[in-house]
Symmetry: C2
Subunit: 201 residues, 2 copies
């Protein structure tokens, strides 16, 4: 397959790979998210080795719930406040084991679904000269997809990592991937991306 | 003087009252900012006692400078990276002594001048039902004023604390206060605000 994306000014966006979304004991756990940890870890290493920026992006809810999405507030309260620091260790906002940020990574805390909404992500990418974002993490229909559409709106070339994203069901995953491909995102496996990165270094 | 603002759904925004801007040893120190600490501290207590939210808002620069305003980057590097955690203790991003956040305060880290730019401030105020923002901190022509204009654009009634804001010179202070008053911000002293808060409690 011919890859159309130029990765020479790309950045990796790792979204919501934190205990509250990856640990099966959390009520906000996304099925399949934990399985993507090694894939994402390898991809992040490839970006770091190539001198390309890695953004570790996560939801961190305030303990009083004042920044939890309105439609999610009830389940958040009933479920023990996942993704906050008031939550049990296995469902708190720390990054999942195996995905701890490395020196030089940028950490962004986001208050809503898209990594661009109410954050400094866009101005940081602009400063770094990034023109392409490679998006992985969870969950595909929500935070991955909203970030993809915002990236497209902001003129970034956008790549979605097919095996580095996750959804509650295969049907949700494939339907969302297809929609993103139709608006112009390139859908690539982590192997394809790592191979392309190897070519430019 | 007749006060026009209704404070029953107000929030206090304390902006940039951190060591890097208040300590005279920091190259980013704003003249007069340290003198406003007791004024702001008393005002914050009045809001807390009245059950009204206090937002402690600050600039925290990443140690690599990737989120420092472009026009300030050179002086930031030459000056020892004030308002970052790579800076000396007396010019770091911790809140100034006497203005440590209290339990229940909201801390917002902002990446640029206005407290609304690239932050979760607006969605949090909306959730809390806030319709009025009372702005204090430093420095009047930059972070106070940009926050005031954004608050006005977002339909918040806006109050500027005349003795709880600071500028490099009295002329800069008065010229900026006059401009903000002309677009409809109410300019009040901290005594006037505390008196008004006392009336509604």
């Amino acid at each position: 397959m011919k890859i159309k994306t130029d990765f020479s000014r790309a950045a990796l966006l790792v979204i919501d790979m934190e205990n509250g979304f990856t640990d099966s004991r959390s009520p906000f756990c996304i099925r399949g998210a934990a399985e993507t940890v090694p894939v994402i870890s390898d991809l992040a290493s490839a970006f770091r080795n190539g001198g390309l920026p890695v953004f570790m992006i996560r939801r961190v809810y305030r303990n009083d719930g004042s920044d939890v999405e309105k439609t999610r507030l009830d389940s958040w309260l009933r479920g023990g406040k996942p993704c906050s620091y008031a939550a049990e260790r296995y469902m708190n906002a720390d990054f999942a084991e195996g995905l701890e940020p490395a020196d030089g990574d940028y950490i962004i805390d986001k208050p809503r679904w898209s990594a661009f909404f109410g954050t400094e992500l866009d101005i940081m990418l602009r400063r770094l000269g990034t023109d392409t974002v490679v998006i992985c993490g969870t969950t595909t229909p929500n935070c991955i997809r909203t970030t993809c559409y915002d990236a497209n709106s902001l003129d970034y070339d956008t790549v979605i990592v097919s095996d580095g994203t996750s959804s509650e069901t295969p049907e949700i995953q494939s339907a969302n991937i297809a929609d993103m491909e139709r608006i112009g995102a390139e859908i690539l496996s982590s192997d394809e991306i790592r191979e392309a990165l190897g070519c430019i270094m």
